[in-house]
Symmetry: C4
Subunit: 151 residues, 4 copies
């Protein structure tokens, strides 16, 4: 059976910051090495991205699709049951950084938080990355998963 | 009686930096987690934002209104008396980062400065956030207020 | 006699970084608090900015003029004699961050380097700011000058 | 015989980050001092840049050509043999930051990794720069090469 690796986008693939102009949310800052890390796992895991950021959805979508992956818009309130119903916690690796990710990180098979995640997320994580989000945290996570589960 | 939480924008909700092109001040960098933190308090406190940045006002306004809050343009010289007259220091939590915020932080009920605020602001603060501005300082402040005053 | 305060722009007023698109150098990142610091000194010193960045000149010019100051384009090779001839080192405070600023920092009345300046500049400085450039280094410098020379 | 200095771009000349809008990869952040450092070596070494970033190629090209150098698009898989065949490892200084740079850094005459490079690259480097990429790492590398091989 194929396992799943579900990743939040803001604060995981990005610095978590939003660059605003007077016209609204315009840019996000994506980090180095993460695309390289995901390549290591793409034939071994079912990799999916979720985000609750409606206003910045097209920015996140563009980056995730540029890397060849899929992204789904799921509200923070629905996130827990969305993962439970669609993937099942026992089959899922999860990486998130915020207050609303805490329960998912705790209940999934292997929960990961970036070094700069909220303390609430880091406290329940199985693995805290040595790099900040937007500076290679997802690459760290992929190498850790590869070494722990596929070697 | 409802208490007030007044927040400065630049250096509190943002990194404090201005991204300039040859056409002027174009962008500001807003941080992660802060919108989540403010959600915790929005039914418990009257939350308002003020800024002295005239040239960047439309950028700040756009972000603050995207989160569903109001923002007012108040010069640095008028800021102290504006808060005193409109809200009263005994009813007000305040968060600021600059030289001109010092007296307000000192005189309000509970004064907060981000980790990377000017030393002048940090010296008189009741609480210094563990995160920098633009990296979750407002979320830290909201959790602190919630725990201290509403639990 | 009025003293002069000459400041480099890139790496002093900014993070030193250039944000490029496919169309070239588009943006620079200016720091917080620096405009507040310069206000403290503007009636006490003749404040001028110089830069060697031709391609980014209009970006720097826009920011410096927004603050009400003047900026001049001077190549790195000409910088030393330009200051000597136009201002005189005995009458000049200087703040710079690069290899080419070293001799000026050393020879002027009071030489300042940001915390993140090149080691070559920091080694000869009279004052190294506690903040990085683009994070309040010029504000630090202004407060230091004000305390040391005007109190 | 002239020696070669081959440099990767993303994570070496830049912070490694990509600034995305809904229209795709728009900007990269280039660091201070690096152009000054390269000037020290341009008459002493054959300096060339390579990159595997196809989508951001025009951004990197613009910056590198603004500094007066050439850049070539080479995939990560081809990078090792490309350098071997075109330059020869015994005649080449190389600077890179990623997983795919490891073997080149190890096998070239003098391999350099920025302070914030992946651990895999840093472990085999002859020199790790004191500065992060996008904050002067290439300037560090140039000064090191100049002192070690040309003085």
């Amino acid at each position: 059976m194929t396992m799943n690796f579900i990743l939040d986008v803001d604060g995981v693939m990005t610095t978590g910051q939003f660059i605003y102009s007077k016209d609204g949310k315009e840019y996000k800052i994506f980090g180095p090495h993460d695309a390289d890390g995901l390549k290591l796992l793409r034939d071994k895991l079912n990799i999916k991205f979720i985000t609750a950021d409606k206003r910045g959805f097209l920015i996140s979508k563009r980056r995730i699709e540029d890397m060849g992956f899929e992204i789904e818009l799921v509200t923070e309130q629905d996130r827990y049951s969305y993962i439970k119903d669609n993937y099942g916690f026992e089959n899922t690796f999860y990486m998130g950084d915020g207050i609303f990710d805490m329960k998912i990180i705790r209940d999934c098979k292997f929960g990961i938080a970036p070094k700069n995640a909220r303390i609430e997320a880091r406290k329940v994580a199985d693995f805290i990355t040595p790099s900040n989000s937007g500076e290679g945290a997802v690459c760290d996570a992929c190498i850790k998963i590869n070494r722990t589960f596929f070697k």
